[in-house]
């Protein structure tokens, strides 16, 4: 049974087509990897799936709810770790968790227990009272994962959750994810540029480039289709060798503004 269904999805920014008529589905309980070079349209697709962006064309169903008219039901169905940071640096780890729990209407009496359980899961319980601005990148990532799980979502979106992290932390994060999927049956929708990670983790892969889907299947299927020995080789064969223009993202530019304005982040 599929838990995410996408039909003829398109997103245009002005004349530029970021996502170009894609259709795919994600099965309940699977670990699904959405792969593609920089600028392929992965984040844009995730933003549409999570109600942050309005699709230009297309239909989306998440957990059997229609994204157009059952937004809040869709929103309750998933947790998300965004590609860019999304914590409040001026609050503590615990307060960030609490904020989320309140917004999602998590039962007040159960709240402290749930927050403790998740902070322990990601080894941050002893840092609960520290402001997030004192955290390392890996700690912030772990906190974001814990936060995304508070309301026991059926689906978790992980948009490049391991970028910039050391191998230890990456292994750690992936082991939580495997655990979630195995023990709790949570569906995992992830993107990553580390092909070995995708190959190890994913039950199924979709490759997108220039907004179009150019390959899909299990990692083994993709390898045999492209006659290659690893998912990385298969990925390169599908997407070609040219380097994508990697514009400084608007967030990076803002960071430097922020510094000019005298705010440390």
């Amino acid at each position: 049974m599929s838990i995410i269904e996408v039909k003829n999805l398109t997103k245009k920014f002005g004349d530029f087509v970021a996502v170009d008529n894609i259709s795919f589905s994600v099965e309940k309980g699977e670990i699904f990897a959405f792969l593609g070079p920089n600028g392929a349209g992965k984040t844009t697709t995730i933003k549409m799936l999570t109600t942050l962006l309005e699709p230009t064309v297309g239909e989306i169903k998440v957990n059997n709810f229609n994204l157009k008219n059952e937004r809040d039901d869709v929103r309750r169905s998933f947790g998300i770790v965004f590609q860019d940071p999304s914590l409040d640096d001026d609050l503590t780890a615990y307060e960030n968790m609490e904020f989320h729990a309140v917004l999602y209407g998590h039962d007040k009496n159960d709240r402290p227990k749930r927050i403790e359980e998740l902070l322990r899961l990601v080894d941050l319980w002893d840092r609960q009272k520290n402001l997030v601005k004192t955290f390392s990148g890996g700690m912030k990532r772990r906190l974001e994962i814990a936060r995304a799980l508070i309301h026991t979502p059926k689906i978790i979106f992980l948009d490049e959750p391991t970028v910039g992290l050391d191998p230890q932390t990456r292994n750690h994060i992936w082991s939580y994810v495997v655990n979630l999927s195995k023990k709790e049956g949570v569906t995992v929708f992830l993107t990553t540029h580390y092909m070995e990670e995708a190959e190890k983790m994913a039950n199924r892969v979709v490759v997108i480039d220039h907004g179009k889907i150019i390959g899909s299947g299990t990692p083994a299927e993709l390898k045999s289709k492209t006659e290659t020995n690893s998912l990385e080789e298969a990925f390169l064969k599908l997407t070609g060798n040219s380097i994508r223009p990697d514009e400084a993202s608007s967030v990076d530019m803002l960071r430097s503004h922020a510094r000019m304005w005298g705010r440390k982040r």
Binding site: L52, S86, D90, L91, H100, V102, G105, V251
Partner: protein, 248 residues
């Protein structure tokens, strides 16, 4: 309700934790208070205007309130740039409640800032007609703050970076401040200024504050109150519309 509460609480916590911000935003009102208060005081009194500090303090308290409020609204841009906004936008709560929570939070912080300026004014000789009048004063501060926070939020929902902030300050906030009768009485000013002042929401905020602090006002304070509520509802509705359409 709990959505509004947690957003309000967040603004308050962030405010209390940032001592530099508190001190920084007291700087400008204090400067105005000292420079104008002692600079113009004798001219004002010679011209028969009465004690200038008594006249000026309500305007300067309002200044602290308004500047903090606008900034509190504009802070939405920071939240967008640093990503926290997305966290609230994917939550299963109405956008309007998010906006209300932010606005209440920003307005409360602004009232605290206004009270801080008031306390300092006592040190340089300002006297309130009656200490209990602090209650109506807080109401006027809050309504003024609410309007300007909502205005800042509405503007910020259309902006992607902080570069527009000086434009907003210089072309919107400062004119509104000077037109409001904050540092000179509008009643003796040229007709044009008098008319413009009457469409400035801050005029009513300051008029209400003067009533509470020193017992004199241009309009009946109930009229000030109604006008402020009206302006606030208007900008809140506009903000609601913009906020609901906003993409993160």
């Amino acid at each position: 309700m709990s959505t509004i509460y947690i957003l309000w609480l967040r603004q308050l916590k962030k405010y209390i934790r940032s001592t530099p911000r508190i001190i920084g935003s007291l700087g400008q009102p204090l400067l105005f208070l000292l420079v104008f208060g002692f600079g113009f005081g004798s001219i004002f009194e010679k011209a028969g205007g009465g004690n200038y500090i008594q006249f000026l303090v309500p305007g300067i308290v309002a200044m602290a309130v308004v500047f903090t409020a606008i900034f509190g609204g504009i802070e939405l841009i920071w939240d967008r740039q640093f990503g926290f906004l997305k966290e609230t936008m994917v939550a299963p709560v109405s956008r309007f409640n998010i906006m209300l929570g932010r606005t209440f939070g920003g307005a409360s912080v602004s009232v605290l800032q206004g009270i801080a300026v008031l306390l300092i004014s006592f040190l340089i000789g300002f006297k309130m007609q009656h200490i209990l009048m602090i209650f109506p004063a807080v109401i006027f501060m809050f309504l003024t703050a609410f309007f300007f926070t909502a205005l800042g939020t509405a503007i910020a929902s259309k902006l992607t970076d902080m570069q527009a902030f000086p434009i907003i300050m210089n072309f919107l906030v400062m004119p509104l401040f000077f037109l409001s009768g904050s540092i000179f009485p509008l009643d003796t000013a040229p007709k044009v200024l008098q008319v413009l002042g009457k469409i400035d929401p801050l005029f009513y905020g300051i008029d209400g504050l003067r009533f509470a602090f020193i017992g004199t006002s241009h309009f009946n304070p109930w009229i000030d109150l109604l006008v402020l509520v009206g302006f606030s509802l208007m900008v809140l509705l506009a903000g609601k519309h913009l906020f609901e359409k906003m993409e993160a």
